[in-house]
Subunit: 201 residues, 2 copies
DNA sequence: TACTTGTAAGTAACTTATTACATACAAACG
DNA sequence: CGTTTGTATGTAATAAGTTACTTACAAGTA
């Protein structure tokens, strides 16, 4: 009856992570049960605990996957850009592309951010965001030094606004719901953001 | 033994709402049980159902409270501003003040946004956000007509960025956690946002 | 054979909601 | 004015359902 043959723990772990990310695209991640995951994999619920000791371990693995995915894409984007400001632009677009490809990701991140302060998974998310902001502040600093943006931008505020701009787009697409594919003004927001930095374009 | 005397349904409903908002400031709203609410009120769990038929009814009442609070404050802010752009500024600051006063509010909104599309509570939140964006787009249109901002701003994008800017600040304060009171660059972000509109000031 | 991956069934803990019963309180009445 | 009586508000207990995790056993694989 099992349409799903035996597999190694390694490949099952990857499958579990992918399944969680996929399910989070359409449902509240907090309401995704181990039974839901197992059912989506054509496996019994108990089987999951052969590959992860806890449900928390699953959530942690999912966040780890998100981190490597996001950081790789951001790094690549920045690396293949001619100058620092184009790098910012590329990072912005890479981030948007990532969450467009995996709409469950922002929902997962939100869900973990709601967790109590002490939660290891939440602390992991905090760490990722902190690094992201540092990366942005650094890049903005370089842009300022290279006189590509106005010398009096508050780099801390500009980092917050960068993430906020993406947040705003995410929220707008989340609000639209699964049905309506309302045009989300990605490029419009990006243009506005760059304008706020007072660069020359 | 009851330190809490009998009260009218009306006052109890208000108390329940306030308690949920307060609890959401420190815990995951999705994990706040009826027992938690009751315990915080010095009342037994079953008593809650004398005043609300469902837990969903409670959540709906909470969102209704958020709506009236937010809309009143935004309306007042805009009304008491000399010009349209100052109105935008005042709305921004009023929103920030509101969520600083009730840190549970954004968490509650996030939690409801994670709900399935069909959920009545989620639809309510969607409605509120839609109105908010319309209000913003309208104001931005007026500002453009009065030549207070650049004529070629994309008002839709500018609305999204307005909400995103606030979102970014919220996230930054959520990231800091309950402990660290890291300075959140509210004014810096507001200044950047206004700069993106290309106004003169 | 020895180990890994899977299943089926079970369990303990938790959550919403209901139910049977108690008590405060206001209005009606003698 | 004092008593009765109906209703709103409260409690304690519990029903019914869900969830994460465990265990005893089976079967594939090296």
């Amino acid at each position: 009856m099992s349409l799903n043959p035996r597999q190694s723990t390694e490949s099952r772990q990857a499958e579990i992570i992918a399944t969680v990310v996929a399910l989070a695209a359409e449902r509240n991640p907090a309401d995704v049960t181990t039974t839901d995951i197992a059912k989506a994999m054509n496996v019994t619920q108990g089987a999951l605990f052969r590959h992860f000791s806890n449900k928390e371990a699953i959530r942690l693995a999912v966040i780890d996957w998100v981190e490597t995915q996001l950081m790789t894409r951001l790094g690549d984007a920045q690396a293949s850009a001619p100058d620092v400001v184009s790098g910012l632009e590329a990072m912005f677009l890479a981030h948007v592309r990532f969450i467009r490809e995996f709409p469950g990701v922002p929902r997962l991140v939100f869900a973990e951010l709601q967790q109590p302060d002490s939660s290891p998974v939440r602390q992991r998310v905090q760490q990722i965001m902190r690094r992201y902001r540092q990366m942005l502040a650094e890049t903005l600093g370089k842009a300022k030094a290279a006189q590509l943006i106005s010398p009096d931008v508050d780099t801390e505020a500009a980092s917050a606004l960068f993430l906020g701009a993406i947040q705003g787009l995410v929220m707008q697409s989340m609000l639209g719901g699964a049905s309506s594919d309302a045009e989300v003004p990605v490029l419009g927001v990006l243009r506005l953001y760059l304008a706020s930095l007072g660069g020359k374009s």
